[in-house]
Amino acid sequence: MKTVLSESDIARTIRRMAHEILERNSGPFLLLGIPTRGVSIAKALAEAIESISADTCEVGQVDVGLFRDDRDTRKAKPIAETVIPGSVDGRTIILVDDVLFSGRTIRAALDALSSFGRPAMVQLAVLVDRGHRELPIRADYVGKNLPTSLSEKVRVKTMADDSEDSVVIE
């Protein structure tokens, strides 16, 4: 097990990503995290954006379990909460997840979003991009590019879910 990002690394990375988001967009922002860890990261990004600008952020979450295309290869998971503040129609949405890997979660998230309406634009922010994409999907904001082998596991831990902030490779 190797720690790739420490608590202070993550705080700095989140601040940098917040600046990048502000460079490309103007608020108000709607950040939607993908449960479980994506939600904590969306909240952290929203806090950072609000601390360095006058823009306001709304944070929601979207569960993608019902929309996955690879359910036959995974154990069924309980359905997590979906909360979308207001409507998605005509808004710029920033999807937030902890790790970008095959891209299948994001594909499912895009399907889930379109079942709620038609956003004007969807952007993707991830804390870690570990490669090995199976679909033509890329992130707009990346915390850290982390080349990995398929046998490795990347774990993002957040204060809210694991009582510490860190990224480790196992």
């Binding site: 996955r68 359910r71 069924a76």
Partner: protein, 306 residues
Amino acid sequence: MRHLLSTDELNRETAIEILDSASQLSRLNEDTTRKFPTLQGKTVVTLFYEDSTRTRISFELAAKRLSADVINFSAGGSAVNKGENLKDTAQTLEALGADALIVRHSASGASYNLAHNGWTSAAIVNAGDGTNQHPTQALLDALSLRQGFNIDDGKGLDGKKILIVGDILHSRVARSNLALLPTLGAEVEAVGPGSFSPGCKYANLDEALETKPDAVMMLRVQKERMNQPLIPSDKEYSRFWGLTEQRVKKVPNCLILHPGPMNRGLEISTYAAESNNSLVLSQVKNGLAVRMAVLSMILGGKNETI
């Protein structure tokens, strides 16, 4: 989870997992009427050897909301009338590609046989077998109770006292709840006239209500399953064990459940069924969400090896 046959098989963790999924689905069902692609390409057969309105329709709608293809099979008007047995029917349906069979049968144990005798590899969901079990009914009752008591997701029904009243003898709903509700931490007592509920300590519903239950679940008097007269008359049953207006007023904070179809004026009065404490319609609504949760859990993931 490969099959859902009985609430005896559910541990607390799995039961709460199903309730939590169902509660998220019931919220999603209110926000959007769109379908979810979860079970695309799967075939679900509702195999009903007994009459049913709400269970069959709600299973059918649940499967369709998850984008499964649904075939409705009812014994009347099928080859069953020509003498085909359960095994052959199940194997025929499997040969046509059924991934799940939702089974209602008048014989207790019919679903268990289908799941464990190697007749079919389809997933089996018990939608009521004789006087034995009706697991999705108990799950939707538990969800309605949890909402009625304003208990958060992730939790059980700890410390709540629930009275199941009436025809315990013939009731698969009672048996399913008697297994599930205590698993979720509730204290459950089954009461009724001696012929329905042997060993009952109370002479009538008034005495039973003095124990201050948090909820009462009224059971339907199932005349179709009685092959001998077990109650002297409808009027007498209602006088001793019916949930009348006066009785509802004695327990103003007690929630009221009934699995339906109701015999109004017999086990439950119209006043009780339509009072503010009645969960009868929320039970029907939760039925859809619970069945979606069960189907997505059974069919919407990698099959665990048996």
